[in-house]
């Protein structure tokens, strides 16, 4: 075993036993590369995730909802800032990450490639999409890369407000008119497929390189099971239905469900979702339009 391989093995054992590292520590090249890829996708997702909801800031139906939704989207932007900073410290400049996002080289989460059609989507996204996200993010509190794990505390704290805000929006509609209830049901129907794909294919965690390096601390299926266990009963108790006739909780406590559409997931995250290009174009438009401002900030 070469000295480097021995060092890498030692590092691997260290993180696998729960050890955490700092930006100033020696990091194996493969670890750094995987870490940047993972963190960058997370940051991109926060950044692109603001766009579907941003449209509704301008349509929020009460002052309270207007304020809460603006605050929620503001949080997502703040998360993007925190996460991009961590990736920058690992050696990839923000401009380069933006360029890779716009060119399609870097990805963002599947759920942010879909349209938001009604105010019902606003509630369901904040409630269920953020619930799915917080499950992944809570697991990152134990990430082997400490600077990333640390910012996750603030992020999870803010996400809990999002879920409550979303649930409140949904509850207002479910206790409202039949049309409002219908808007929520339609939104659940629309988002269920993407939600079931969100945590990724059920690859065994031991085979997941992100788990190997303890960047992630749980497997995809574990995360999905947690989501189903936590939120399906909440959906059902409101009289909403889930568009999957096979969905149910087994006697062993394991949820069964119809196979998510993995081909759709792959196509969507590679830039072929219903709003992928439109959103990237929108992002590109403002990045280009306001480039002079960033230049003037750097200049003086």
């Amino acid at each position: 075993m070469s000295a480097n391989a021995a060092r890498e093995q030692e590092f691997l054992e260290y993180v696998q036993s729960g050890g955490q590292v700092e930006s100033t520590d020696w990091l194996p090249a493969d670890y750094r590369q995987k870490l940047i890829k993972f963190i960058e996708m997370h940051a991109n997702s926060e950044l692109m995730g603001v766009l579907p909801e941003r449209e509704w800031i301008l349509k929020a139906p009460t002052l309270q909802r207007k304020l809460a939704l603006t605050a929620k989207v503001q949080d997502e932007v703040g998360h993007a800032q925190l996460i991009y900073r961590v990736a920058e410290d690992l050696g990839k400049p923000r401009d380069e990450m933006f360029a890779d996002l716009l060119s399609g080289k870097a990805k963002f989460h599947n759920v942010f490639h879909y349209p938001t059609k009604t105010w019902g989507d606003v509630g369901v996204i904040a409630w269920l999409v953020d619930a799915a996200a917080i499950i992944s993010q809570k697991a990152l509190l134990k990430c082997s890369y400490a600077p990333y794990a640390r910012i996750m505390k603030k992020i999870c704290w803010e996400e809990s407000f999002h879920i409550l805000h979303g649930r409140d929006v949904v509850l207002a509609m479910m206790t409202g008119t039949p049309e409002q209830q219908e808007l929520v049901q339609e939104a659940v129907n629309r988002w269920w497929g993407p939600l079931m794909q969100f945590h990724g294919n059920p690859i065994a965690r031991e085979e997941d390189p992100m788990y190997l390096w303890r960047i992630k601390s749980q497997g995809n299926e574990e995360a999905r099971q947690q989501f189903l266990e936590g939120y399906v009963p909440q959906i059902w108790e409101l009289g909403l239905t889930v568009p999957d006739s096979n969905l149910g909780r087994g006697d062993d406590g394991v949820w069964v469900y119809s196979e998510p559409d993995w081909a759709e997931l792959k196509s969507v995250v590679t830039g072929h979702g219903p709003r992928s290009q439109e959103r990237l174009d929108f992002r590109r438009r403002f990045l280009e339009q306001e480039k002079w401002v960033r230049d003037s900030l750097v200049a003086a």
Partner: protein, 214 residues
């Protein structure tokens, strides 16, 4: 409508509409760091609008949401400065800078008002506006040498004068170093087509199911 309610509504409408316009930057501001800061300003302005609508609502037997959303566009009393759709940073900062200066002058007068309730709300609002002014001044200083920013300030100056009543305009001119004499102010009372567009969007969900609670 009595004079007090009219005054309250004109300030509340200014704050609501500028907050609404500013919130359009949430998610797409020039930098992520600025995005977070700018969203807070938008929220503060909406919060000020809400406080003022609440005062007006007791007078008018209404509620803040109804005053904010359920009037026809022509019933709004905002100045044209806040209505303009300026999704471009030089104009956005020029407007923020001019609006904050005008608002400073206006709040200064309101804090001295014999109407203690109004004076109290004005003082509370002013404590938040301190940070908005710091923000506006920071940016104005940073962009001072950009011709597009200077042009935007000049372009918006007649609109800025229209935010204030006649007697307060010289103070605004003094603060900004711009001229009040050679400029025809764009007065409150008529609206730009941009307000109607904003109103359409702002009330879309609310109008979709009349009477529903959200």
């Amino acid at each position: 409508m009595n004079e007090r309610a009219q005054l309250l509504l004109s300030i509340a409408d200014d704050e609501l509409i500028i907050g609404w316009r500013d919130s359009e930057w949430t998610g797409i501001a020039p930098t992520l760091e600025e995005d977070v800061a700018f969203s807070s300003i938008a929220q503060n302005e909406i919060g000020h609008a809400r406080a003022l609508y609440e005062l007006a609502a007791t007078e008018l037997g209404s509620d803040a949401d109804a005053l904010a959303f359920d009037r026809a566009p022509e019933e709004y009393r905002c100045a044209q400065l806040v209505e303009l759709h300026l999704l471009e940073w030089a104009h956005t900062i020029a407007r923020r800078y001019l609006y904050e200066e005008a608002d400073r002058v206006r709040l200064g007068a309101l804090k001295e008002s014999a109407d203690s309730e109004l004076a109290g709300v004005a003082a509370k609002i002013d404590r938040e506006e301190v940070y908005h002014r710091m923000h506006a001044e920071l940016w104005a200083a940073r962009l001072r040498d950009e011709s597009r920013f200077r042009e935007a300030v000049e372009e918006l100056w007649p609109y800025a004068l229209g935010v204030l009543p006649q007697e307060l305009r010289p103070e605004l001119a003094r603060r900004t170093g711009l001229s009040v004499d050679s400029t025809q102010a764009i007065e409150r009372g008529t609206h730009t087509p941009e307000l109607a567009e904003l109103w359409q969007e702002m009330t879309e969900v609310r109008r979709s199911i009349p009477g529903a609670q959200w």
